[in-house]
Symmetry: C2
Subunit: 198 residues, 2 copies
């Protein structure tokens, strides 16, 4: 005897969430059944509603429940500055800093030819049309500092170098509050090379 | 701007799973929306089906999709031996050892007067009727070795001491493959006191 078929199916389904292994899935399934059936039903409804109701913004490709997302349709945002990020979580992170007032373009990934992710998959055609049709004067490349993120930033900067655009990359260096001896060599090299006069 | 309302609701609902904090919930929500909408819909269906279809066995209180669970209704199980455990996960653990062939009684918790969990909540009335109406000759107390588990085991052994029953407790001691210097003092004291002749 293992689990009953429905519990088995529940445990298997819970594992679609990354970071949930077999032991965690069993614990969560039992806890929901024992103590929180109401919460489990709410979760099921929220999953269905989100999967049906959340699409992508036609302009910036971020998650949106409307054809154009709230940032792209806001008249308060600076339309001359465009920040290019990898994914919707990056938009949240930057928004939380309250230090950027332009618009975003979400690649929904990075260039990765081996995985079949080329310029089309990350929406560069769409980005080109967007830049040509609007008054954007600066694009800020805020992809990650992984190899893929750097390669993607480099590729985008090459593709758009012929346009009359300021193309910038977010600064790399020692994080605030960081001890120098805890910072890796690559970051420190970058921080030295990019030193600025004070 | 934070999330859209549906994503907000999804992230909030995902947190009904223990061990999932706000950061993990955000990561899982975005991953499901980006890459696994099919899996998310399957999870929603599995949650609904399990919450509707899984109840408790009328005899042993374990999770079951039928009024009497597969262990209680199996003619192959030894009906003279009853193992008392805290929760359904314990049944799975003991079944996986393939070393117990009797039946179970699942308390679905431990005695905890401060939380309002008394003998009735852990089904001791039901257990008494079960013992009186069947041919059980031994009950094995396999509750955990926490203070609550020990207290519950002690209480049950007192309640049923007047009946003509063999009452046993699973052995406490040094785990197999354990180094003595990594074992805590309480366990070692117990292991010494319960030493057996070889």
């Amino acid at each position: 005897m293992k689990y009953t078929p429905l519990i088995d199916q529940l445990i298997e389904s819970l594992r679609c969430q990354s970071g949930i292994g077999p032991k965690s899935a069993q614990r969560i399934a039992f806890e929901l059944l024992e103590r929180n059936r109401h919460g489990a039903r709410q979760l099921a409804d929220a999953l269905h509603k989100a999967m049906d109701g959340v699409g992508h913004c036609e302009q910036c490709r971020n998650f949106s429940e409307t054809p154009i997302c709230s940032i792209c349709s806001s008249p308060k945002r600076d339309t001359t500055s465009l920040c290019i990020v990898e994914n919707p979580a990056n938009v949240i992170s930057i928004e939380q800093t309250s230090s950027f007032f332009g618009r975003y373009f979400v690649l929904m990934g990075n260039l990765s030819p081996l995985d079949g992710i080329g310029p089309e998959e990350i929406g560069l055609d769409q980005l080109k049309i967007m830049i040509e049709q609007s008054e954007i004067s600066e694009i800020i490349l805020a992809t990650g500092t992984t190899i893929e993120g750097e390669a993607t930033a480099h590729y985008i900067s090459q593709v758009f170098s012929s346009l009359n655009l300021k193309i910038t990359r977010i600064a790399h260096g020692v994080p605030l509050g960081g001890e120098l001896d805890l910072v890796d060599g690559g970051t420190l090299t970058h921080a030295l090379a990019s030193r600025q006069e004070i």
